[in-house]
């Protein structure tokens, strides 16, 4: 029984989709089938809450479609975990996770304190909210901004790597970080060299989110553990959604059926 895992690139930036798929396949389980979807419209990065709100409609549509197509798990590929709670509400069988949930949980078990290497100062307040939400306030050593935007990381990889090196060094020596999180999925591909150079775990959040999705898929298949449908993630009634004309108004035909 194989696992089908979807990497949702929640922005309308598809340039690297092939690279990302290859990257994930390099680290995937033997029985995992990977797909990468980016969004058909919307912002090309999600550095603002407004962009995340705009993107939510397409993200959640992708989640509905993925479940219909039989994926076992999906990861919403942005370190802010946008739309994650809503996605869990509308999944019946598919499990969903996000890079922040996955990476922080992992980092907190590999060491006592982690630092997050982010792109810009602007990102910090929302990420700090997630640190609190996921229960890791006591593990946060620091945020260390690179002064780069999401789309800059792969423009001049040598420069990016150099800036990362500087901030990782400060995180370890000044902030006493024991684990490093590269706090943006588009910082993918840099961890290996840093990990080797500094000798501490360096978490690539794209990988962390993907592997966690794969792991949750396996737990669901083997043990039946999946998102609780009671309380916070209790699902909205499809009949109500159809009565309100949501499928037509939001281009979701076939994804919500009254009898669901």
């Amino acid at each position: 029984m194989g696992k089908r895992v979807l990497y949702i690139k929640p922005s309308a930036y598809a340039t690297l989709n092939g690279d990302i798929r290859s990257y994930l396949e390099k680290y995937s389980d033997v029985d995992t089938e990977v797909e990468v979807w980016s969004m058909p419209r919307g912002p090309q990065h999600l550095e603002y809450e407004y962009y995340q709100a705009l993107a939510s409609q397409e993200i959640l549509k992708a989640v509905l479609r993925a479940e219909q197509e039989g994926f076992d798990a999906a990861v919403i590929g942005c370190f802010d975990d946008p739309s994650l709670d809503a996605a869990r509400e509308i999944c019946r069988d598919m499990v969903v996770t996000g890079p922040a949930e996955a990476a922080m949980g992992l980092a907190a078990s590999l060491g006592e304190r982690f630092s997050v290497i982010v792109g810009r100062d602007k990102w910090v307040p929302r990420m700090r909210e997630n640190v609190v939400k996921y229960g890791h306030s006591a593990h946060l050593a620091s945020f260390r901004p690179l002064g780069l935007g999401v789309l800059d990381f792969h423009r001049d990889p040598a420069f990016t790597a150099q800036r990362m090196r500087e901030e990782v060094r400060r995180a370890i020596t000044e902030d006493k970080a024991e684990v490093i999180i590269l706090g943006c999925t588009m910082e993918f591909g840099f961890f290996e060299q840093l990990q080797q150079e500094f000798g501490v775990p360096v978490i690539d959040v794209m990988l962390a989110g993907f592997k966690h999705a794969e792991y949750l898929a396996a737990l669901k298949q083997k043990i039946g553990w999946c998102t609780s449908r009671v309380g916070k993630y209790a699902p909205p009634p499809a009949s109500e959604i159809c009565d309100w004309g949501i499928p037509a108004d939001y281009d979701l035909q076939g994804l919500w059926l009254a009898e669901k």
Copy 2:
């Protein structure tokens, strides 16, 4: 100099808009002009995170339009404060608030502990997150669900009032609540009788949100205090939004202009 305040009803339920406007005008400042807008499409209530995500696009469009039309302040009329952070990012002059921020802040200054009378159990996890976010964990006496949905409150007002009475009594005697919050904007209109009967402040969150918006508008006009544009609420660049074709793709023509 008068104040223009917009009450954004973030669902596609317009039936009571006239009543709501009259209700707010009854309590507004003499120099305040009130409008009530509901959404042209989408869910008729926001009891699920998925509904809030669906609604976000229209809410944020309304915010953009309201600013363009010269409103001084807006309140997003749902006790979950949906899209509030994103709304603040995209406002240049208009201030925005939400009923939860307003009501909890007020309740915490009128007494030590408040109870929130909610519709269903399902609402509690997200509202509890807001209690934490707004810093009122130590003030929360309890959530007390009525077993009613958003659209039920005004169907049989006598029954609703009776259920509220029961839960308010328990909140005061068993949970030691000193202040009561009626935790849904559609619970509007019930506070007065309860307040009289129980002799403790009973916060109508529609009113609390509206009055707070009015107050913030006054502070902006008189003192110049408005949302910081540094850090968490730093605004996205209009040029980027236009380059990506967002205005056309999201039906926002004229609301985002590249030179902004």
Copy 3:
């Protein structure tokens, strides 16, 4: 129906009372009548907890007298909010607030993180306790002391402004503050220039406290919301107070009547 709001200057320093009244009137609502009372005896500033304890007797007497004279609201004009809880216990109709409660609540809604520009290091521990009490621990970027006492701020305003400028700059650039609080009522009058210069909201706590009192007065008049008389602010019995001879012993004749 106009509002009468009292600004209680809780120290025996009356030199600037006229200036303060003019200052507040400049920003008050059209229907607000402002008075400023300072204390007839006691410390001239409240930088020590001992001074605040000494001052409490006159502050609370002023509160009793203000209610008797029909004020709708009062603000105890010191950023430590001295005697605020006790004041709430003894008010029947008048609402009371303090600059810290008002300013911090406001700052937390205008941005994610605020810095407080204080006079001396000594003030910080007690103010930090208030940050916790009011639920804003997660919003505190820093305290930044000026090295000036309460009575120094208006001695050499140009120097004060210069020092403020230096610390505000550090708060924004080093501590990532998004909002600035000038953490002493006697720092009044400096906010406007700083706000213009730095482009972030700068909260004058005298104004913040006064406007909040005015707002609470309006809510009481229009909606009937006022301090809960159950639990934390339940009032002491006047009969007991009279039996013990408190009115005579504490110079409170006529302010406590057994039949109250």
Copy 4:
């Protein structure tokens, strides 16, 4: 070298002073000299914050006088620890503590969770603030009110004991308390029988406060540890106090001297 320890009864209720002194002497160290002072005027109990504010003037005067008379330590005998921070500011050599600080610290080391048996519901909010202030939130099992006022406890001791028995039983069986705190100094004298009956530590807060004061006095004498005069407890300048006429206006002649 003997120790002189003062028990400050912070209310104007002297009826039991002799009993209290005998009670404390029964448990004191051999080299300790005990005195009990009650206040010359003011409330006879401190169940309200207003009463604590009224009492503060006499409490702090007693503290000044005690230091002048050479006491080594004092305890302010009310479980709300009123005026404790201010008292520490004005002591040069004498150390001061309160029953809440002492009893909660002790209880937290004798077991994981404690319940506090209080007089009335009204007391709870302020005491809960002290639980937080002293860092024991995680140790609080419950507050259990007896429905009795401070002056009731010794009116009908058999009834009081019976009510305590009921609430202690509930605290242990329902709230899983491992240690009991009798949360009012006037609940003194009941602990022994309860302790024997229930087999868990029952903290008499009068004793806990007194013994802690005695212990701090010993540490000061033997090791030189006493209240830090830097930061939170930095003392006000006597010269300023004299310049303002405080000694004359507050009946403190001889207690503040300009050269101090």
Copy 5:
């Protein structure tokens, strides 16, 4: 490349080792080789901290031996995660985890609030400390004791299942739990029926710990992420250990070598 995962039964109770191995193999990955080791001496269960302290020596010896024998990961099979921090210090290549870390992290991502079904009241204080340590205070709905000891669960499985059913029902209906944790590894084997009956995820902590160990082993093999050797888990110097004669005195010959 297969994974070798060790299940350390940290007590001297080997009766069910074969059953446990079969149980784990039923859920393991195809490339995982499982072993189960129990301790050669010591307590047969770890319900007391004293027992955990006694057991620590054998647990840590097993960890050293397991690494020497080339295991990729180990899980210390007790829901208190005894000796986990020390185990991480002394591992060079093997990763180690515990059932509490694994189960709580998982539960917090499957729902908002979990309840833990424990054996006895006695267990609760230490487990609550772990809830805090792992950052899940906000997710804890309740502890629900069964009134059974570790060795009782499998004595009368029908009775155990019945008691679990009662407490799970209360956890869901009264405490609003969305996920259930069976808070003892010896509660293994009961989850499936409960999960089916109640329709919420029921976490078997033995499985959760084992699968997490397997997952960490895979991350280490594929991505190189393993315990940080900087800070909290920095390893003790083998030379010092040898100099002190630890290997001889603690029966650890061959497990610590000076040149390590």
Copy 6:
């Protein structure tokens, strides 16, 4: 009635036992009899969790033996308070404490914020956990490492004193510490000079732990307060321990008797 207090040196380093005994006697009560025991085998310092785990067996054996020999109180002389919870479980009459519990509780009452002068960076994570456990997060100004190991402090006392002086100065001026804790029992003997030089309380944790043990012994003798045997510290049954052969296997003959 005299008190017998045991200072447990939890490492196998006996060189300074005589000095330590003299040191403690210099500060002990007149009726206290002091003994110092070090461990017969094991690590010579406890800088690693592994070392603390190794040492636990001898520490707990010493505790059992001490109780049998009639000691009234013991202190486990390491600032990590190793094995303290387990020690409390197995004591019937003897009370036990640790230097961290004692020193932090004391420091928090002598000032608002304390800094801890530690040996190495490595120590900080575990000590920070204890700061949280004991409820003092809000009081922690900083940890300041000296770059010295436990066994270094008394090798070159002049150098150690010099390094302490540097870090104490930084703690006071940069971190605003009001109280200093010398965070290792082997930093004993340095406090007096630092205290005199800097004018703030400097807590020697060996002394703080010892005096607290002495104080708890006195409270037990005079008032009957001792460790609760309900809940967290409920004792393991001796019969079970004997049935399992623990006394023979762990060299504890005569210390556990089935009839206990």
